[in-house]
């Protein structure tokens, strides 16, 4: 980054650290760094502690690979949740989204990625193998594929379906169709075709 040579080295270092964060450009990085400079020492300390705590105390659940403080995570150790159903999602944020819906009381499995042939992300790059291992215990009867309804999400769902079918587990896919508040006129053919396939009695 072309910075005035007079910027003191510690500030320069902070600017560069911010600049590495997603969505932060050179100007935003500068503004953040100078903001930190003006804050009290306690506030700055709180920030560094928060950052370090995330790195030190958060890890992956050994069962579902969701991010957690306690291992196994709250979902995996909750006896009221159905142990026979596993919902497979791309990333930890998707777990929160499904929890928010309130309609699911089973287990999760977080892939931490998605198959992307174009960018060369293959089965070895995401946590698929752990899912296969989990299934070998025999307790799981249904796997719900909750990857995004995008090209990559569909490819991942089909791949996992193929991988698991010899094990005799039921593999299901989230329904695809019109989102609430949608406009038929602007809906693409794929979505409409899927919506028609999955139509229901009113």
């Amino acid at each position: 980054m072309a910075e005035a040579p007079s910027t003191p080295e510690p500030i320069q270092r902070l600017i560069e650290a911010f600049h590495r964060l997603p969505g932060i450009g050179p100007k935003s990085a500068q503004r953040l760094a100078y903001h930190i400079l003006r804050t009290s020492e306690q506030e700055a300390l709180a920030l560094t502690e928060a950052v370090m705590d995330v790195k030190r105390r958060i890890r992956l659940c050994s069962v579902c690979l969701n991010i957690t403080e306690a291992d196994p995570c709250a979902y995996c150790s909750d006896d009221r949740r159905d142990k026979a159903v596993v919902c497979v999602v791309e990333q930890p944020l998707d777990v929160l989204a499904i929890e928010r819906s309130g309609g699911y009381k089973g287990q999760y499995h977080v892939l931490h990625g998605i198959l992307n042939p174009i960018d060369g992300v293959g089965p070895e790059d995401i946590h698929v193998r752990e899912l296969v291992v989990r299934l070998q215990a025999g307790e799981i009867q249904e796997v719900i594929m909750a990857t995004n309804p995008s090209l990559e999400g569909e490819a991942t769902a089909m791949y996992i379906q193929r991988l698991l079918s010899p094990a005799g587990v039921r593999v299901t896919r989230l329904a695809r169709g019109l989102p609430s508040g949608a406009d038929l006129e602007y809906t693409d053919d794929v979505t409409l075709a899927r919506a028609l396939e999955g139509r229901r009695e009113v």
């Binding site: 969505g23 991010i67 042939p117 293959g122 070895e124 794929v190």
Partner: protein
């Protein structure tokens, strides 16, 4: 100020997508008139986006774009063909993605290549109609020919002499088949079978439909895949991402290794 219009219409196939910022995406489009180009779709990752489904990779769409300072911006998009059957079958989906990657890697930005476009649309339609994976071999040959890397199959690529009906050296560096007399000058390559030569000669003159109608033995199919894969690798000087993927799908996942999941990276 230039007097060019502020916006334009084109059709095209979406080759790939990259996310940008909170809700935007950059799409790589291959158009018969504009060639390959990148353009931004604003807010396309929000659920109420009107363009989202029309800009999925592997979709053939009619689109309207406004000239941007750097990249052009999509203003409207409507699907022409979505190739549903391709999306429902993992093998055909992977092949289609592989062919899109070939187009992406073999083309330069904003260079119109309508023949290559027609070839890509033909391929997607053939796969959608249930064609065998063999069409990918036809596609590979034609992509090479269309982008200036035609493989010489009729005569020796070095001396222009006849090719005997026997296993023959195939050298990408020399530009095709190398006859027995020139073999020492042909550089590295591999011997390919008479059947493979005949299949490639047939492909050079046939339509995609005619080639797809061939019933190739698995062994011959594998040989063609290997030979053409090597030719493409040597022209591109790299592996294709999705090509490796096609191979990965063919073999089962490595037996699970019991390892404790590490920390969050």
């Amino acid at each position: 100020m230039s007097t060019r219009p502020r916006s334009y219409n084109t059709e095209g196939v979406i080759l790939r997508r990259r996310n940008l910022g909170e809700a935007d995406s950059i799409f790589t489009v291959f158009s018969p008139t504009e060639g390959k180009f990148d353009a931004i779709a604003r807010a396309v990752r929000k659920p109420k986006s009107r363009m989202r489904g029309h800009l999925e990779p592997l979709t053939r769409s009619q689109m309207h774009l406004a000239h941007g300072r750097n990249l052009d911006v999509f203003t409207q998009a409507e699907t022409i063909a979505a190739y549903l059957a391709v999306r429902d079958d993992l093998d055909r989906l992977t092949l289609a993605i592989y062919c899109c990657e070939l187009v992406d890697r073999f083309t330069a930005d904003r260079a119109a290549q309508s023949e290559l476009y027609d070839l890509l649309v033909d391929l997607l339609e053939a796969l959608d109609a249930g064609a065998s994976p063999t069409v990918a071999r036809y596609f590979e040959l034609r992509v090479l020919a269309n982008t200036g890397y035609e493989i010489r199959l009729s005569h020796c690529a070095i001396c222009d002499g006849p090719i005997a009906e026997e296993d023959t050296l195939f050298s990408v560096a020399s530009g095709g088949l190398v006859c027995g007399g020139c073999r020492s000058r042909g550089g590295s390559g591999r011997l390919i079978s008479v059947r493979a030569i005949k299949a490639m000669r047939f492909a050079a003159n046939a339509t995609m439909g005619q080639f797809a109608g061939l019933r190739l033995e698995a062994e011959l199919e594998a040989e063609l895949q290997r030979v053409l894969g090597e030719a493409i690798r040597s022209v591109l000087e790299r592996e294709t991402n999705s090509g490796r993927y096609v191979e990965a799908l063919a073999v089962p996942l490595r037996p699970p290794v019991h390892e404790s999941p590490g920390d969050v990276q």
